[in-house]
Symmetry: C2
């Protein structure tokens, strides 16, 4: 690769009679920087950006070089939006619902409670108008945005006591952020925000009674299964998509082939993250069942689910009332769900139910 | 692009003092040919190869050119394996279970009745050992093989009469190919093979009583909903993956960057086909419900499902007994299913059930 570059440079000099700049520009190496919310070794998430950078470098024969800065380097895990917007970084990998304060309409591109599952969400993004809406939200900030990987269906959390009715939620101290936290709060839950590093001991000491994190793969290393016995299926993030951000000026500087290489590498890395999450969650849940036989899987009773749904609808309606663009995005996902879920029900759901052996 | 090529050629001549061959080789254009089972305009499937070729050409800045020959050109829709093997074509896009006669162990890479759903199947391919097994099957033929797109969960077929018990299957004349056909045949169904173009009139005239095709998106244009009222959820192809084949000699000739471009373009095109199928099936099913309100969705009764499963297990065991490699692949998928399905059940399945509003 280096030999080739030297050679090309030599030619560019030797053949100045030709318009050598075209060649020089085409073969230019672009050193891009990427800031991610995650640490350098966060399972699945940090692997996604590494995997993306490797594909882009290899496909471009080294003309794209992507330096990845983890949160330990830039110290601003929730400042990715600002840093890519300002041009301090060319690219970012983060979740759009972290920026509720600065760019509130972005959160719906991560997930909506009682919303789309991962394949339904990708269908909406790529074939149901989602990409266009996301562009309308991000372009005014000089940013391009692409789906960056799906966590799959997230679990509803770890509870020390079984939730048998709505009453059991009243006064319960729980860590659950974002829109899910707002909903839980309306139902009488004392929602608290505790840094990840302190969650285990907070649950152990009884500072909190319950904690929602992600799913088996990322929950297992947190150790919740050692303390809380009840593991609930989720309602709040049925297919959470993280995202890539690209500074528009960086993008516009790149030749068309490198733009396409970046686009396709991001798209594949995102899909791969969904599939890797699926695999890792399955493996971790299997290990959990084996090593912690006391852990019980639970589903919230209909009374609780109905209240969660009603409250979600109420809050979403409040957001929609305040902002026409919020209404546009929420409605687009809701309308799409009505159609796509019918298909999910007669295909995967019917199959999973009718072929169930236990 | 052409200008640049002319310019590069001129340089190669002008600078013969340098080792110009390195440059010439790196910038060489590779004209590859692809044979597909499908017609030039088959929905979803033909779009997948077009989409793949476009990505590869754009990412390689035109150094890869892929000519797609549909079945109307090469006249051998089920001869893709042989034509890519012999080098008559560089690439192929087909389904591995079409080659049961020549390479019987390949069929398990498409789908297995009562097997993995699409995300479970991709997890198995990419993280659960599937790719390695597929390589063991295809390499001896001088072929590389990659997942080529998933149809999603296929429907169980169109029936003119409701299937209420096992007895209703006896003597029923049905179009359903492959392993599903063998299973149905064991249960007393008169399985017939009728060319696609004649299926509609065969069902209309009563030559057959039922027809299994794919799913709403591809079934709708066939017109079955005009004749048969009962549309059953499937059991036989829960996540059918088509595939790309690449001639090994072609592959080995390509520089590493173009190999990676091909690999990633195939991977993305495959995932995109799954998502496009999801979307198109949802839209077609919605349209069907609206325009043909008589169409009823049905699930086979437990008695029928249990018999189908038992017979499937029996036939798979027979295949496994005859061939150690068949046993290895079947066992690998079955073992993986046992683990991954537990995760599907507490995530997507539990969510779909608990959040269901109707």
């Amino acid at each position: 690769m280096n030999l080739r570059k030297t050679f090309l440079a030599a030619i560019a000099v030797a053949t100045s009679a030709f318009s050598a700049s075209a060649l020089a520009q085409d073969q230019e190496t672009y050193n891009l920087s990427l800031a991610q919310t995650w640490g350098p070794n966060t399972p699945i998430l940090a692997e996604t950006t590494k995997h993306f950078a490797e594909m882009a470098e290899k496909m471009s024969d080294g003309r794209l070089k992507i330096r990845i800065d983890p949160s330990s380097k830039h110290k601003a895990p929730f400042g990715i939006f600002d840093m890519v917007r300002s041009g301090q970084y060319d690219l970012g990998h983060t979740a759009s619902y972290y920026y509720k304060g600065t760019i509130p309409n972005a959160m719906y591109f991560t997930t909506i409670p009682f919303g789309l599952t991962a394949p339904e969400m990708y269908s909406w993004f790529y074939y149901g108008g989602g990409m266009d809406l996301m562009e309308q939200v991000y372009r005014p900030y000089g940013l391009l945005s692409f789906p960056g990987g799906n966590t799959g269906n997230q679990m509803g959390g770890w509870f020390r006591k079984e939730i048998k009715s709505l009453d059991d939620l009243k006064g319960l101290k729980m860590r659950t952020p974002g829109l899910a936290g707002e909903v839980m709060s309306e139902l009488g839950v004392a929602v608290t925000n505790i840094p990840p590093g302190e969650l285990f001991s907070a649950l152990e000491r009884g500072t909190i009674d319950a904690a929602e994190w992600v799913g088996p793969a990322l929950d297992f290393p947190m150790g919740f299964q050692q303390i809380a016995k009840y593991y609930y299926s989720g309602w709040q993030e049925p297919g959470a998509e993280v995202q890539f951000l690209v500074n528009e000026k960086t993008w516009d500087k790149l030749p068309a082939d490198l733009q396409e290489i970046l686009r396709v590498a991001m798209r594949t890395a995102a899909y791969d993250m969904y599939i890797e999450s699926y695999h890792e969650n399955a493996m971790a849940w299997d290990k959990m069942k084996e090593n912690y036989p006391d852990v019980q899987h639970k589903v919230f009773p209909p009374e609780v689910i109905n209240a969660l749904r009603k409250t979600t609808d109420k809050l979403l309606e409040q957001y929609a009332e305040k902002d026409p663009m919020a209404r546009k995005i929420i409605s687009s996902q809701r309308d799409y769900l009505k159609i796509v879920r019918k298909w999910t029900n007669i295909s995967d759901k019917a199959y999973l139910e009718s072929s169930a052996t236990e």
